[in-house]
Structure formats: C-alpha cells, structure tokens
Symmetry: C2
Subunit: 415 residues, 2 copies
C-alpha cells in the first residue's frame, strides 16, 4: 500500500491524506480520485514486469492498486477479473470492422463487471478492519459484494428496495449476506446505508460514494491495455472503448485506469471512451450533449435495470471520461438493446441488457459513421445474460410445438 | 486426427473403423469407446509438451482428442474448458480435509460442464460436413450445443419436451438455435431426434448415443490431472473425484480421460471416482450397489433437473467408472442437495442443484468416514447457480422488510 498517496476531489480539487477521509469530499461532497505515488511505482516496476506476471485475475495489477495484498487465495475472490476477449469473425464482417473485440465481464465470479469494484472494496475493508461491509443495491453490485465478501469470510449487509426482483435477492442470500429490504426506493436504501455505516462503523461500498470502487473498475482498463493495446501496431488509430453507462462509475473507473497508464508513461495514446446510455435513462448523455457538468436527474424507465438510474452518482467524472478522450455519448432505445441481445446471442455470446447496450451503441456509431472500418474497437459486455432471463425472452420468438412423430416434423419443416 | 483409430463397443467389445459407424454399436446397441492411437501420440508428444501449452481452454489437449483443429478462434467456442479451481480454507476446515479442490464448471461459456461435450461434437460435425447438428435436451446440453454451434456458425436444432422451463428454452433461442418443442417427454424427443438425424443426414449429439460427448467430457480429467495430480507429492493417496451422475456420461467421460493418461504412461495412480446421485434418481447407484451391469429404470422425481433421469443412457460405463477405480456410488436427498447449495454459497460459490449434489456426496462420505483427512479430494461443480434460481430460492430464508429509517433499522438489529 506504499503506492497509495491520498485523494484529490474531482470537483473542488482539494487534496487529502489517506487517513483524512473515507468517502466523498468533506468540502463539497464531490467524488474523490485516489492518488497513487507514481514515482514510487515507476522505481519498482516496469510495464513488462506486470505483463509477464502469471496471475489470471485483476490481482496481477496489485502494484497499481491502493490496497495491500488482499489474501483470499483459493477462493472466487482471487479470480475476479482477467476476463476473456472474443473477436468473432462474423460480427466483424457484419459491422465492417477490421479490429473488434468483445470483453466478456459475465465471466467474473458473480457474473458481472461489479466483481472488480467489490473485490477491491473488500480488500480495503479488511485493511480498515471494519467488522461489516455494507452497500445499497438492487442487483449486480450487491451480488458482487456479497459474493466477494463471502469468499474471504467478511461479514456483509445489503440494503435493497423491497421491490427488488426476488431472483436477485436470492443470489444475495445464497452468498450468506444479511439482506434487509426497505419499504422505499433505491435512493432511500442508499441514504440509510450511509447513515448506518456512519453510526455503526460499517464500511460502505455505495457506488459514487466510496472512492475505491473506481479503483477496482480501473483494472478493466489495465486488462484492455495488456490484452489489446500493447499488441496493436504503432500506426493503429486509438482504441475506441464502448461501455454502457448508468451511474457513471464504470466509465469513470476505466478512464482512471487509462490515466494511470499514461501518467506512468506505459501508454502513449489515450483510448477514446464512448459512453452508451439507454434513451430512457440518459442523465449523463444529456449533460454531455448540453456540454455541462451539471447532471439533471431523469425519471428512468429503461428495462436495462443495471443502468436504470434517475440521479447518477458519478455523473461529472463520467461526462469528462468521454469529453477528455475524444469519445462521446450515444443513446439507444430499449428495442435496440433487446435486438443487441439477440444479435450477439446468434454468435454464442449471451449478455444481459446493460451489457448489450454498449454493443447497440457501437452499431449506432457504425451506422452514423462515427466509427469506421479502421478504428480498433472494444465493447465491454458488463454482465451475463443468465442475470436477466426475462429480458432474454423479450428478444426471441416462441418455439413451435409439434407431435413427436416424423410426419409432424416433416410437416413443420415443410419437407 | 491421425490419432483417431476407431471404436470399441463398451458392451460386446467389437472393434470398428472410424468411418464404419457414427453412433452406437450396430451389433448390440452399446455405447462405443473412442480408441486413440496411443503409440502415435507418444511418439509425437510428451506430457511436458502439453503442460507448457499456453491455451486456456480444453483445446490445449487437442493432441489427445479424436478431432482435428476445430477453428473457432476469437469465439466462446474456443474458451470452453480450463475452468478454475477453488480450495477454500473455510470449507477445508469445516470438512476436516487437508487437500480439497472445487472445480467450477459454471465458468464455461454457457455456464455448465456440457460445453466440453458440445464443443468437441461441433468440431466433429464440421469434419463430417453435416449441415445441421441436433440434440434432444431439456437444459444444459441443449444450451451448450446451441452456444457452441452459434459461436462457429454451425446450424443447430434442439428438440425439447414442451414442458421444458421457459427460461431454459429462452437460452436456446438466444443462441439462434431452431427449437422444436414436442408434445411428449424427453424420451420421445430423444427418439425423434435419432430418427430425424438418420433420415435427414443431421449429426446427432444425443448423450449416451454419440461417442464424442465422452471424448469432450474427458478433458475435465486432463485438467484435473494437470491442475492437481501432477502437483501432488508422490506419497499422496490417490485423488478422490466427486461428480454428480444423471445419465452417466460425465463420470464415464472423466474415467475415459484418466484411462487415456494411464495408457500413455503419463499418470501412474488411477484416481478414485465417486458418483453421487440424487436418491430420487438413482438408477446407476442402484446397479452399483446391486453389483450388476443391468440398469433398471426408475421414476425420477428429484428437483436437481440436470441429473433427473429415468433411464440413464450411459449407465453401464458409469457403474464401471466407480467399480474399476476403487470409488463408489452414494446417494443424497433433495434436502441435502439444497443445503449444499447454501453451504457453498456462504463461501462465495454459487452452483445449481446438480453441481451441489457432488458436494453433498462428499459431506456424506466424510460423515461415513469413507473419506478421511489425508485423502486428496476434488469436487466437480457442474453448473452455475444462475441456471436455476428457483432451487436457490429454496435454499434461503426470505429477507425482512423495514421502514427506511435508522429507528426501524435499530429495532430490527436489536441495537
């Protein structure tokens, strides 16, 4: 943890010591960026040292994380991250792209991108020796925290709104988390979590509040760098990274990871970040388009529940992630999201709506000629399709029923 | 494919050329064992050659498979297998075992063990240039075939009974398979599949019928060998492999893999195979206990749907897998299966009922002193818990609902 130097507020730029603050900026309430001691890292590691490390998880990047060795060997905690890439010839041909990768975050231990944030937060919680880690969540973040905490024997409490889907609540309970449903919405669960963690000394993971979630999420940028960017020819155009955006913390985290690599001098070409939002939950895209840092809440109605957010808690940094990297925001309809589930499915890739959103955005960007044949592109599929079977069923037409006889079959096949 | 020498019938021991037969024994209907040219393999490869191969999928063992290079680079097809191991300290302590591993097959591309069989069958189908690959299935095997076929652009038809769970049918449809529901049970779908494949020249994957499914499944044995057995001290007792058993094809496939390794001279101590069946679906365990090769059908009522089988199609080889390796069969109740889901969940491992069955069997074996502290043990978790949320919900107690206030929370926590 020698590389953890402190925090800087993303809004008012006040600096803080590592021990001075736990969550958001005491001055202005802004999200804090973790500051690493880059000189110390550079003096101890070269990029080649990390690349040759044989650890198939995000923990191979421990020297670039603000936590010390987290333990957890032999458990699912220790295999979070290092997700596979696909580069399906059929999809490349269909979209007319020469260089395309899809990063399958559904292969994380609890089947979503959120394991990255949760595992690093759990590591931080253990350093702080907090008895309990807690979060408000309706879905993937809660499952990830519950799963990562269970793996290392860390006590965990999840607050969820009482109308959370029973299947998602079941996953929390399976991991042995104490689950408390509140008679209210996500925001009331969020606020109660913060209040309770203050009073009881619990460590709070809430997204857009705890600065360590983005530090976990930045590991996806490190993997994209190692798996793709270091292998691109020097002459290649900058990599275009497509990622779905809800509260804005994933795109902010990925941006942070790339900034770390540039600051270390290990990457000289900043990738372009494309944030894709559902049209019906587009608070951050709206701010980007209006060229403002002011995030105006919306009333979200998208079916892509993992990115359905009224008031994004990490909106400002999310807007900047696209603005500062020559990327942009695009919105897609729920119909386009559902079609994207089916289209990737036909190539053997099964993703939940939030994951398909990034792919739907890429399709739109290709249609609008924002992305061209020579642009290297990576799409981040944030979660496994098994997380939301209901949405999958909207993407397909029902199967026919026949009598189990050859004559019925022939009639059906018109043979 | 130079290493593919032909087949031997597992019942009547008749030998066949590779081109003489496609499925079961024309003489007696028995399942065929694929025969490899071990001398040729030994002359071209040493075990060290395979172990150093850096390909994180079952395809690293291509030299030991009866198919040629299958292609499929850049797709989920190419990352089937090479699943992670856990060795959770908490579970080891609880069970009093020094050496315990859990192999997480839920990390396969379609989230179950069946991807091993389906990917090898799809590779075979492409060699045979069959236009369509087909199977009867109610669940994981169908999803695996649909997913692996989609990944490489192979046309695929799945026959399922019309009462198959809609969620599982949705997964098939998402992968773009043509799904035909039959107004009958699994057996009628099975028979129709065989009849149709004969008449239309489709390639049939049906389990306990197509000899290549076991060849795919044997890759789990290769991985267990490489990941565990080659690292055990010479003095260690033989590895005990716990695997759930439905139609018997997984345990037969794993047995075949270990036999290949012994025949190659690459492994000198045969692991002990423990087949675990649900008490309510125990046709193979019954035959083992009665010390017979005659498999008498049962009326299965277990909730572990992936291993719920009336007439196991690979029962004889499955009985032998335990008998010939100094293993045995055990049965567990549905309550024990449900408890095993919850118990592994508390350590961050989420598995479907069929996966938890093997763990439940290990618990029973420890209680009965069949497995002792010094026995090295590996449990094969055959599928991801997200495959069967309904069963997961049976394993947990509902969460309480409170008002979103600190006073309600304190009252609930009795603080």
């Amino acid at each position: 943890m020698v590389q953890f130097k402190g925090y800087t507020c993303s809004l008012c730029h006040t600096d803080y010591d590592p021990v001075a603050v736990l969550y958001t900026c005491p001055q202005c309430g802004g999200n804090l960026d973790v500051v690493l001691d880059l000189e110390k890292i550079k003096s101890k590691f070269q990029k080649e040292d990390l690349i040759v490390r044989r650890e198939d998880s995000l923990w191979k990047y421990l020297p670039l994380l603000p936590v010390s060795d987290p333990g957890g060997e032999g458990t699912p905690f220790r295999i979070a991250g290092w997700t596979p890439l696909y580069s399906p010839p059929g999809i490349k041909k269909m979209l007319g792209l020469n260089l395309l990768w899809i990063k399958d975050e559904g292969k994380n231990p609890t089947a979503s991108f959120k394991d990255r944030a949760s595992s690093v937060v759990v590591a931080r919680c253990r350093e702080l020796r907090a008895e309990i880690v807690v979060t408000a969540s309706t879905g993937n973040a809660g499952a990830a925290l519950a799963g990562m905490a269970a793996a290392v024997g860390q006590k965990c409490i999840i607050f969820a709104p009482k109308n959370a889907p029973p299947a998602k609540v079941a996953q929390l309970l399976i991991y042995g988390a104490k689950v408390i449903l509140v008679d209210g919405n996500y925001d009331s669960a969020f606020d109660l979590t913060i209040e309770a963690s203050k009073e009881f000394g619990w460590y709070c993971r809430n997204t857009g509040y705890n600065p360590f979630t983005a530090e976990g999420k930045k590991t996806a940028a490190f993997e994209i760098w190692e798996q793709v960017i270091t292998r691109l020819p020097e002459s290649a155009k900058p990599l275009c990274v497509f990622v779905s955006v809800g509260d804005g913390n994933i795109i902010s985290g990925i941006h942070k990871g790339f900034k770390d690599l540039v600051a270390l001098g290990w990457m000289n070409k900043m990738p372009r970040l494309f944030g894709i939002q559902a049209e019906k939950s587009a608070a951050i895209a709206n701010a980007y388009i209006a060229d403002t840092d002011t995030i105006t809440p919306v009333e979200s109605t998208t079916l892509a529940d993992s990115i359905s957010v009224d008031l994004p808690r990490d909106g400002v940094r999310a807007v900047r992630a696209a603005r500062e990297t020559n990327g942009q925001y695009l919105t897609v309809t729920d119909d386009q999201i559902i079609s994207a589930i089916a289209e990737q499915g036909r190539y053997g890739i099964f993703t939940e709506p939030a994951g398909a959103t990034a792919y739907a955005g890429l399709k739109k960007a290709v249609e609008l000629n924002i992305i061209q044949q020579e642009d290297p592109v990576i799409v981040v599929n944030t979660g496994n399709g098994l997380k939301d079977i209901k949405a999958a069923m909207m993407a397909v037409t029902p199967a026919p029923i026949i009598e189990p006889t050859m004559s019925s079959l022939k009639k059906h096949l018109k043979i």
